[in-house]
């Protein structure tokens, strides 16, 4: 570990923390329907869209209506994306002449982008036409992110409103998230990325003659615009197969920092939106602090493990940390940091190959995802994810102050506990059960690149990433098979909708409750005690669930390495 490495990590943390308040303020105004600087530009567009959709910003929805609208919208998005891929050969903007995407892969990809996962069983430059990339994938990058934000806002309203039935209007929240948050930020980011050297063209791939005289096709395309939203919306689906390790997708340290910051920006700011909406910003900061604690622990362990490298390699006289699978322009510090960020948030973009990390270095991204990506998390998804754990923590510990547990004046009762448990349960269901099946299926095991515990980790990582809607790949696993296309698709659907529906149900239940006034008997949820409690519950519940799987995967691998055996 180097001073330089730590400075880069601290710069990142500082920038994110500084963004929380201004971005949070802007988003709060947007979702409260107040005027912002952008209202002049997007106001007419917004009203026009409502008119076309036959709704209005004054129309409010019960949680079931909200959920139905959300499901309908996602289904429509899935179908559109599926058929765009299947028919791309006959559609325009296809200079490379890509043929139809096979059905299982098209299913996997459509689910993947609709659920904000962006698991990619395809190589972008060799599979997708420009039209699919722009009208299909990029559109889903926007709306899947906006969907996540909408759910988070709806759940926040569960706490900020009292004794009403409605949790907002899905169409309005979706439109506002897209128009006032994602779109303007993406435009600015894309322009800077172009300035930094990313391609943004609809022209054909370029043929180049290398120094050796060989011929090479250099893939191009509308990269900058897609990179902007893939990070901001924590989608993570790379334009190129190599994702953010590719020089066109991530040219230098500045673009790397911007991408890392934009992964966390909205998720972190949502804690502030929460604080503002419930009328006490400290509540938001307490959640932010919990995320920060878990994040920093992850960064320290991951950076330490990578910087320490492999003792077996070191013993051969190769000093230094583990540089396998890392880009020299980022080095160990930024690769480790990026890996923790991308899995803490449900982004899934990578600037290094996680498969090549040391066992413990790879353990951190795995744990991040297994916890449900609640450390900042996917835009919206991370926030409603951590609120589920808040409900759990408050319920168990809240009883210890001798009152029916309450959070922000809302009593946490059977209905909330039931829904939170259901949502938390669906992750191990998808991750562990599907892994359990895959590791004993010869066809599925054939996809792994390495034997032993490392191969196990590859499969576990794939299902974990899919169910957590992360989309990053450990690498090493050949995912484009019928088995993985279908089962990973199922994992993604479970991880997304089996969390969303209970989260909205909780919002619907909370919004109808009275707000109990704070008294000396109320357990304070805006201080260090709460941060400690919440972090503890997250680590213990998450840790207990996945301990056996981690023991036979990365932990066994790490301990074997210490004994001189690698996989």
């Amino acid at each position: 570990m180097t001073i330089n490495g730590w400075i880069q990590i601290l710069v990142f943390c500082g920038v994110v923390t500084l963004l929380v308040k201004p971005l949070g303020g802007h988003m709060t105004r947007v979702f409260n329907g107040e005027r912002t600087l952008l209202s002049r530009i997007f106001g007419p567009v917004e009203r026009g869209l409502y008119a076309v959709a036959g709704t209005s910003e004054r129309e409010e929805q019960h949680w079931t209506t909200y959920a139905a609208a959300l499901l309908f919208f996602n289904l429509a998005g899935f179908l559109l994306l599926y058929f765009l891929q299947r028919l791309q050969g006959a559609l325009p903007f296809n200079p490379a002449g890509m043929g139809a995407v096979p059905p299982e892969l098209a299913f996997n990809t459509a689910v993947s982008f609709m659920t904000n996962t962006n698991w990619q069983n395809y190589g972008g430059e060799s599979t997708m036409s420009y039209l699919v990339q722009m009208a299909g994938l990029t559109v889903q990058n926007f709306v899947s992110a906006a969907t996540g934000i909408a759910i988070a806002i709806a759940l926040i309203r569960g706490f900020s409103r009292a004794s009403v039935k409605s949790i907002g209007n899905f169409w309005v929240d979706l439109t506002r998230a897209t128009l006032y948050v994602l779109l303007p930020l993406s435009v600015v980011l894309a322009l800077v990325y172009v300035y930094l050297g990313m391609p943004q063209t609809l022209g054909a791939y370029v043929e180049a003659t290398t120094l050796e005289g060989g011929r090479q096709t250099i893939a191009l395309g509308p990269v900058a615009s897609q990179v902007a939203i893939k990070m901001l919306g924590t989608n993570g689906g790379g334009f190129f197969n190599a994702n953010a390790a590719h020089p066109f997708e991530n040219p230098d340290a500045i673009s790397n920092l911007m991408q890392m910051v934009s992964i966390f920006a909205i998720g972190a700011a949502l804690t502030n939106v929460f604080g503002r909406m419930v009328g006490n910003e400290r509540q938001g900061w307490a959640i932010f602090a919990t995320m920060a604690v878990l994040f920093l622990v992850g960064v320290v362990v991951c950076y330490w493990a990578e910087a320490a490298g492999n003792p077996l390699v070191n013993a051969l006289g190769l000093e230094g940390g583990n540089m396998e699978g890392k880009e020299v322009r980022f080095g160990i510090s930024l690769s480790a940091l990026f890996a923790v960020i991308t899995t803490a948030a449900s982004c899934g973009a990578v600037n290094a190959m996680h498969d090549s990390f040391t066992a413990l270095g790879g353990l951190i991204p795995l744990i991040n995802m297994e916890l449900g990506e609640i450390v900042v998390g996917g835009v919206g998804a991370g926030f409603y994810g951590i609120l589920l754990f808040v409900i759990l923590a408050i319920f168990v510990a809240g009883l210890m102050v001798g009152r029916t547990p309450e959070y922000l004046g809302k009593k946490i009762e059977a209905k909330e506990v039931k829904m939170a448990v259901l949502a938390i349960l669906c992750l191990p269901l998808a991750m562990l059960v599907l892994t359990g099946i895959a590791v004993v299926l010869p066809d599925a095991v054939a996809s792994i690149a390495n034997p032993g515990p490392h191969g196990f980790s590859e499969i576990l990582y794939a299902y974990t990433s899919a169910a957590a809607n992360n989309g990053s790949a450990f690498g090493g696993l050949t995912g484009n098979t019928t088995w993985y296309n279908i089962t990973l698709g199922i994992a993604m659907l479970m991880g997304r909708f089996l969390v969303i529906i209970p989260a909205l149900a909780i919002a619907g239940s909370l919004v109808a409750k009275k707000t109990v006034p704070v008294s000396a008997g109320t357990f304070p949820t805006d201080g260090a005690l709460f941060v400690g409690l919440l972090s503890g519950v997250i680590l213990i519940v998450g840790g207990l669930t996945f301990f056996p799987a981690l023991a036979v995967g990365p932990i066994a691998e790490h301990l074997a390495m210490l004994l001189g055996q690698t996989f």
Binding site: A162, L392, F395, V396, A397, G398, L399, M400, V401, G402, R403, T404, G409, I412, E413, A414, V417, K418, V421, I424, L425, P428, L432, T435, G436, I437, V439, V440, G452, P453, F456, K514, T515, V516, P517, S519, A520, G521, T522, F523, P524, G527, L529, G536, I540, V541, G543, L544, T545, F547, P548, A549, A551, V552, I555, A556, L559, A560, L562, L563
Partner: protein, 695 residues
């Protein structure tokens, strides 16, 4: 029933039958009420089958398997035992209640004539029947006195042997079946049929037969079921992980891991905690009609307390003599004492006491003074004494001044009122009186032969220590509101002295009800106690309504708790018991979940050792062998249930220190303690069983 009859935790009379009950509760229908323990019983049965199979096949490590199975069943039995012990304490109480419910003959009246009755069995009485109960007879069923006055021995339900007065009309008209009339006779209209009387309900409550899961308990059960499912997923996937690694893990070991991981500790003790909570209330001589009410008591935000009897001693007492100018303290005290000698009211007696304490004025013999006592009437609003041609009066200031005017007019024929003759004294008297009233006291003017002497300050005496109780409640986050019929000025003064947060002066049943509704609209939970029929609407509206046992039938029906001692201060203890109940559940849940960390470290290395020997590094406790590790974990898991039975019955101690401090304390004990204790416990068990050669 009385506190003196409390049974100790380790009473053999309860423990021995509980062992039998623990086995009886293995009935699947009983077990099904508790999802966690039902699952444990199911997998224990499975493990037993596997053991039988291994026995017949003759393979495997039979000794080890046998011990695992035995400890699995012990886990279930210990849980049943905990519940049985909790119920046993209630059963003992129910037994003593049943003895009072002897078969009685009732005198069923045919009409208004109390001599026209026929004997019928008490059990045949219907609601609305009217019976006659005479001295020495047992009241056949619950009812309301509609005629007569009688002293009644209610020891059967309150444990208090001093008889109480029951009379028709007013707030003391309710009688309870099974209690005995000691003197006189009463006509009682039956309000509860046999089987649904107060005592029947008490028996059912203390026995736990009517126990329904409370909202919080339901929520907790859902959480525990969820945790159980998570561990189903965590353990059920292990075999395929092992297969991938080329190994095999016996089902018995998976079962052992599963049972140690699921929250058996809290699952086993959950119902015992609930029963014990009700039981603690019964020990306080409070009957909760539902567990929901006990739980709500812990959540109470606002406490409505009647001033009289709860906050103040109930009677006003003289605290000071304030003479007008020109009159000495002794002079006033002497006159006041004389005027009060024959006054048997508590106020009058307190004047005599004060005169003696402060000025050494002894009581004088009324007879030797040839005095004539003038009693208090509602018309004159004063009392006094006439002797040796002298007359002393004490009473409300305006009444006394009017009296002075009248007598002066009569005796002297003059027309000047006292305000004219002695303007100074009259004005001063009024000024002193106003000052006393402002301070929350009651002024009592004293005149002797038409001359105002001064004012006696009668004061509501705030109970000793009550201010500290209210401060305690404030730290608990509970707001206290004093309810009084006094005028706002007096109320404010007493409220300030007692340290309540707010008061409702000139209270009527309507504005009491409105106050409760207002508080509830703000999202608060309100507790109150009351006894009169006019309290019934408010009792019903309040989230926790404690009816006094001396109260009317209407009040008793409206409340969700009955205080057998009729002590309104008990509301505070009830709140604490409610909080204790919730805290105990939370503490044991936290403890149970935190325990799992150590169990993983015991079992996971042992489990995978065969094919991932490097995982032996996780055996941080240094357990001797894989078998001893697994066995130690499961033994610890079973024994901790027994070890925690006393805590679950007694409850976690509640301290009124504010939520933050309370939580950090409990987190430290039950969270951090829950992490550390099993590491030590499992290690110790490992050492023991290896030494004695069990593994």
């Amino acid at each position: 029933m009385s506190q003196s009859k409390t049974t100790s935790l380790l009473d053999a009379r309860i423990l021995v039958p509980a062992i039998g009950d623990a086995f009886r509760k293995l009935d699947p229908r009983t077990l099904a009420r508790n999802p966690v323990m039902f699952v444990v019983a199911a997998v224990s049965a499975l493990a037993t089958l596997l053991l039988v199979r291994d026995l017949s096949a003759g393979g495997g490590n039979i000794g080890f398997s046998f011990q695992i199975v035995v400890w699995l069943w012990f886990t279930v039995l210990f849980a049943n035992f905990a519940e049985a012990v909790a119920e046993g304490r209630g059963k003992a109480q129910a037994e003593s209640l049943r003895r009072t419910r002897t078969e009685t003959q009732a005198k069923l009246l045919r009409g208004d004539d109390i001599n026209n009755f026929k004997f019928v069995p008490g059990t045949s009485l219907k609601v609305g029947d009217v019976v006659l109960v005479e001295a020495g007879e047992i009241i056949p069923s619950d009812g309301e006195v509609i005629e007569g006055v009688a002293s009644v021995n209610e020891a059967a339900i309150t444990g208090e042997s001093a008889p109480v007065i029951r009379e028709s009309g007013g707030d003391r008209s309710a009688v309870t079946g099974g209690t005995q009339v000691l003197s006189d006779w009463i006509r009682v209209r039956i309000t509860a049929a046999s089987g649904s009387t107060f005592i029947d309900r008490m028996i059912a409550l203390v026995e736990g037969a009517e126990r329904q899961k409370t909202p919080n308990e339901i929520a907790l059960n859902i959480l525990l079921a969820g945790m159980t499912l998570i561990f189903v997923l965590a353990t059920a996937t292990i075999p395929s992980f092992a297969t991938y690694a080329g190994g095999y893990i016996p089902v018995l070991i998976l079962v052992a891991l599963f049972v140690t991981l699921i929250p058996t500790t809290i699952g086993a003790l959950l119902s015992a905690i609930g029963i014990a909570g009700m039981d603690r209330l019964v020990r306080f001589n409070v009957l909760a009609m539902s567990g929901r009410a006990v739980e709500a008591a812990g959540d109470v935000d606002t406490l409505l307390l009647d001033k009289t009897g709860t906050i103040t001693l109930g009677n006003r007492q003289a605290t000071e003599f304030k003479p007008v100018r020109g009159v000495t303290d002794e002079e006033l005290a002497d006159a006041a004492q004389l005027a009060s000698l024959a006054d048997e009211t508590p106020e009058g007696r307190s004047i005599v006491v004060l005169a003696k304490e402060k000025y050494g004025i002894r009581a004088r013999d009324m007879g030797s003074l040839h005095a004539h006592f003038v009693p208090f009437t509602a018309q004159s609003r004063m009392s006094g004494i006439d002797f040796d041609g002298s007359s002393i009066r004490k009473g409300a200031v305006d009444a006394v001044l009017r009296h002075v005017d009248r007598t002066t007019v009569a005796s002297t024929g003059g027309t000047a009122s006292v305000a004219v003759r002695e303007p100074q004294a009259a004005r001063e008297l009024q000024a002193i009186a106003d000052e006393i009233a402002r301070a929350g006291g009651t002024p009592l003017a004293v005149v002797r032969d038409g001359r105002p002497l001064g004012v006696v300050h009668l004061k509501d005496i705030v109970k000793g220590g009550i201010k500290e109780r209210f401060a305690e409640l404030r730290r608990m986050g509970i707001r206290t509101v004093m309810i009084t019929g006094d005028n706002p000025m007096t109320a404010a003064a007493i409220a300030a002295e007692a340290g309540v947060d707010d008061f409702l002066a000139q209270a009527t049943p309507e504005n009491k009800l409105n106050l409760i509704r207002e508080e509830q609209a703000k999202g608060k939970l309100v507790a109150m106690c009351g006894d009169g029929t006019n309290d019934a609407p408010a009792l019903a509206q309040a989230d926790v309504g404690v009816a006094m046992n001396t109260g009317t039938v209407a009040a008793r029906e409206a409340g969700n708790m009955v205080d057998l001692d009729s002590d309104p201060t008990k509301l505070i203890e009830i709140v604490e018991i409610g909080k204790q109940l919730l805290m105990t559940r939370g503490a044991l849940t936290t403890f149970s979940i935190a325990n799992d960390v150590a169990k993983y470290f015991a079992i996971i290395p042992a489990m995978f050792l065969a094919f991932y020997p490097q995982l032996g590094a996780l055996n941080i406790m240094g357990l001797t062998t894989p078998e001893s590790a697994i066995l130690s974990a499961i033994i610890f898991n079973a024994l901790i249930i027994v070890a925690l039975i006393p805590l679950s019955l007694k409850g976690v101690k509640y301290r009124p220190v504010g939520a933050g401090a309370l939580l950090s304390r409990n987190l430290l004990i039950y969270g951090l303690g829950g992490l550390i204790v099993p590491f030590i416990g499992i290690k110790v068990i490992d050492v023991v069983i290896t030494t004695v050669g069990l593994a």
